[in-house]
């Protein structure tokens, strides 16, 4: 099956920031979380995928097609941070506008989302709360039957109940095996709940892009002293942090001798250690 998204050597240079040779593959039917701190390059990556900004190197392939082809965007649903829909239009008008743009627009489906999300049809978009705006953005993104959803911080700033509702909707979307999602967020718990793959961007570089379960299986937390750490093979220790009570290290489970007590890691642990931890010299 064709991959939903392929980035090869994607590079964008600004005077003060470089997104550096990003290689990433999102298989069809999967959800990939793009994680990174503010300014890591998540939104730039998404803008490049959409072709909204010109890249300096690399290629972007969406569902097997070059991303420059307008036709491929019929298959694409997008929710950008703050939704970016016309401020002075109401939900009904926005539906009619998008109906005049997408060939596959399903007005009945759009209406059903408005009803499901309890969004008023006559209220202007700028009068919506952030949660309502994001819900309308999601309704708009799903109502033309896209195969790939691209979500840029779609859940940030939402209360836990709304976030949970939206995450369930995304999980429903990927029940169809040719539906895929690329979702950027810095709320790691959301991505841990939702994603099959995790891609971690740090200062414009892709530090890893792997299956979530493989990451959780590969890494573990080791708590002990600096001396304990020095007894290990250097390649076993991905990073460590020194605390008042000792040392905490992110280690590769398979490279650690049997008998040592290891704790389970979360994706958040892996990211924090990768970003802030020290390396054994």
């Amino acid at each position: 099956m064709t991959n939903a998204l392929e980035l090869r050597g994607l590079t964008k240079r600004y005077s003060d920031f470089t997104l550096d040779h990003i290689d990433l593959t999102l298989p069809s039917g999967c959800i990939m979380g793009l994680i990174g701190e503010n300014g890591a390059g998540k939104s730039t990556t998404i803008q490049l995928i959409l072709g909204a900004i010109q890249w300096d190197g690399g290629t972007v392939t969406i569902l097997g097609e070059d991303n420059g082809a307008p036709a491929i965007r019929e298959e694409l649903g997008v929710v950008l941070d703050e939704a970016c829909l016309p401020t002075y239009l109401n939900a009904g008008q926005i539906g009619r506008v998008l109906g005049g743009i997408y060939r596959n627009w399903d007005q009945a489906l759009y209406q059903s989302y408005l009803k499901r999300f309890e969004l008023p049809e006559k209220k202007l978009f700028h009068q919506f709360s952030r949660g309502m705006k994001m819900k309308l953005g999601i309704a708009a993104a799903l109502s033309h039957h896209p195969r790939l959803l691209i979500l840029d911080e779609a859940t940030s700033g939402l209360d836990p109940v709304v976030r949970d509702e939206i995450l369930d909707l995304f999980l429903d979307f990927t029940r169809s095996e040719d539906h895929s999602i690329l979702v950027s967020s810095h709320i790691v718990s959301d991505l841990e709940k939702l994603c099959d793959y995790i891609a971690y961007l740090h200062h414009g570089k892709l530090l890893f892009c792997e299956e979530k379960d493989a990451l959780l299986e590969r890494y573990a937390l080791l708590k002990g002293s600096m001396e304990d750490l020095k007894c290990l093979d250097k390649s076993a220790v991905a990073a460590y942090r020194v605390h008042a009570y000792g040392v905490e290290a992110l280690v590769e489970r398979e490279k650690v001798p049997a008998g040592l007590t290891l704790d389970r890691v979360t994706i958040e642990d892996i990211i924090v250690f990768q970003a802030r931890g020290e390396r054994l010299s």
Partner: protein, 222 residues
């Protein structure tokens, strides 16, 4: 593209109703004025509407959203030019309606009749329409590429500079059109001038469209 036109129409309907009132009101004033200031000011005023629409789009960050839509840059820009042409159409229709109203007033024994008789609006309908088309097109052709190149805010500065050029051009064209002796001296008949203005307008808008497509950016602030 139909959707983009619908969006612009909804924005004007929800936020720009005053435009549809102010243009006829200015033309009504022009109907009782000897000079053509209000008539041609309407052309400028109408030509500002596309910029207003663009500012609403930029405020909403709609430009970023259009990158994800199944539309080419050419279609996005063309929709805005068509919206501009529809605005021009509304202005021309208003001029025609006011001209007809003036013609009716001239036949009625009212105190307004002498004022209307001297009105610049009643001098020549084809010439007034032609000059409105030219002034609107000239302004639009200069301002739209700036808008797409620099975004609404930076584009406003460039547009202000263009206003100066525009006013000088408008004044010159108006003076030429009103001075038939001068036209005779140049062997240009008013009809020929009218045809020339319309052709020039089409040429300017076509060149402007291609420049706008070349400069169009989905993220004007980046």
């Amino acid at each position: 593209m139909k959707g983009l036109l619908l969006k612009d129409w909804y924005i004007l309907r929800n936020k720009g109703k005053m435009y549809f009132v102010i243009i006829p009101v200015y033309l009504l004033i022009a109907l009782v004025q000897r000079n053509s200031f209000f008539l041609f000011f309407c052309a400028i005023f109408a030509a500002m509407i596309p910029r207003t629409l663009a500012s609403y789009d930029e405020h909403a960050r709609w430009c970023s959203y259009t990158a994800a839509l199944p539309l080419s840059k050419g279609q996005v820009v063309l929709a805005r030019y068509i919206a501009a042409m529809l605005t021009l159409g509304f202005t021309l229709a208003s001029i025609c309606a006011l001209y007809l109203a003036g013609a009716v007033l001239l036949r009625l024994p009212t105190s307004l009749a002498p004022l209307v008789a001297q009105s610049a609006l009643m001098v020549s309908l084809p010439m007034n329409l032609g000059l409105t088309v030219f002034l609107f097109s000239f302004y639009t052709a200069l301002s739209m590429p700036c808008l797409y190149r620099f975004g609404v805010e930076k584009g406003r500065m460039v547009q202000t500079a263009l206003m100066l050029v525009f006013m000088i051009a408008a004044g010159t064209v108006a003076a030429l059109a009103e001075n038939e002796d001068f036209l005779m001296l140049l062997h240009i008949s008013p009809d020929l001038l009218l045809a020339g203005l319309v052709l020039l307008s089409i040429g300017l808008l076509a060149a402007s469209y291609f420049a706008s497509v070349k400069w169009y950016r989905y993220t004007p602030n980046l």
